[in-house]
Amino acid sequence: MKPDLYLINGPLGAGKTTFLKELLKLPQYKDARIIENEFANTSVDTEQLHDHHAEVQTIAGVCICCSTGDELTNALELLSKNNTPVIIEATGIANSLRLIEKIVNADMLDVYTIRHAIFILDAIETSDNIEATLETYRHELQAADTVFVSKTDLLDAVQVEQLMDALSGLDLRQVSFANEGVFDPSLLAVESHILEYFAQLDEHIDNHEEGASYTVIDTSVVRLEASQLESVWQTIRLEYGIRRMKGNIQSADGKMWHIEATPHQCKVSSYESGALKLVIIGKDATLVTLETMREAMARG
């Protein structure tokens, strides 16, 4: 019997890792192996999965859906030996259908059964421009076995209704909520149709965020207050076209803080340990430095 393969994809900051953490709490996934793909060459998401006792393979610095390397095949081959479910968490710029192409051409369908393809859609970011966002992700939404909409608890009822109405017009397989990663696990029992969807698709498939770059800021050399970072987030986001910031900082009192920022949100939570660095992803991310952040802070 072939092990089950699950795919989790969705835009940057949509809540893929949060969803994965909730999924791993379920008994049937407690031994699942994870392939965590990080666009930047350093991963802060791996640290978030440190409580998971089973193997986590991190592929960092390359998007597995567009890489010509063997990273994904090697990881899949390695993890197939355990006969436990394997879950791939994509980068946030990956295209699920290109990921399918890699899996198929690596002959991994001889090794695994694709059990379920999950797409996490960020309700807040989508609500900014529902029509354009849904068009951008239309094929992936339609290809997904379940679209989980995250962060609807941060919208008002009218906005949620508008979004769900728009989604209902897209002929999606299943749509449900996953606020803070909490979801209905029974939905994952539905057989996957992503291969059939992929095979009949007659359009060119692009990656999302084609022009995205990343940078990694070493925050171990400076003490930063979380409130400063929160206040400066919108400035650097707009100036440099940033889509995502995540990582850890230490404040002057020695406390560590974990930062998760998307265009509309900058979440700060206390943190006990982890590498002191910030990963920043977006159009001109390579231009963001500790100095540019300090300058933005000084400007208020």
């Binding site: 960092a60 940078t215 990694v216």
Partner: protein
């Protein structure tokens, strides 16, 4: 660095060709994957894709840097119009920090040798400012000395042109403790 211009131009042309081949490979791969799912994989298409993959690998294998200045010049110029440019020392350090990557090994080797000679390493952000342009390294005396050091160049060539059983294996034999 006029003496390296021809080599760098040749590498840039190879990179342009590599990107074109990547596009071809991506299209063939999509088509083949669809055929495989439908159980009608065309062997000609599969062979064509394998051929393009072989060409990509061959091209990649042949892209070697005769010394560290050729490497730096190439990195600076090849990626300048790409989403992830290697414009500054900071960009270069990030590029050279991916665990196990060839450029990380080149970077580490150069730093080891600089440190052995009592020189500041490329990782030293106090000396090589994060925001300084990568091509300013070309004027750096300690690096020029390395390029003219027969012992350094001997090891650079050993790692850069390394093969294992006839297979190109650039920097495979190098580890930080080597």
């Amino acid at each position: 660095m006029v003496e390296y211009r021809e080599q760098v131009d040749s590498l840039l042309a190879m990179y342009a060709e590599y990107k074109q081949l990547l596009e071809i490979e991506a299209k063939l791969s999509m088509k083949l994957a669809k055929q495989k799912i439908n159980g009608v994989a065309d062997s000609d298409l599969a062979a064509k894709r394998e051929q393009v993959k072989w060409e990509l690998q061959t091209l990649s294998d042949s892209m070697t840097f005769s010394n560290l200045f050729v490497w730096i010049m190439y990195k600076f110029e090849a990626y300048k119009d790409e989403a992830q440019p290697i414009r500054t020392m900071r960009d270069f350090r990030i590029h050279c920090s991916k665990e196990g990557d060839i450029c990380t090994k080149r970077f580490t080797f150069v730093n080891e040798q600089l440190a052995l000679g009592g020189q500041r390493t490329l990782a030293d952000a106090d000396y090589y400012d994060d925001n300084s342009l990568l091509d300013t390294l070309l004027e750096e005396r300690s690096l020029q000395e390395l390029v003219h050091d027969p012992e350094f160049m001997k090891f650079w060539r050993v790692y850069e042109y390394n093969t294992v059983d006839g297979r190109t294996a650039k920097w495979e034999g190098y580890s930080v403790t080597a």
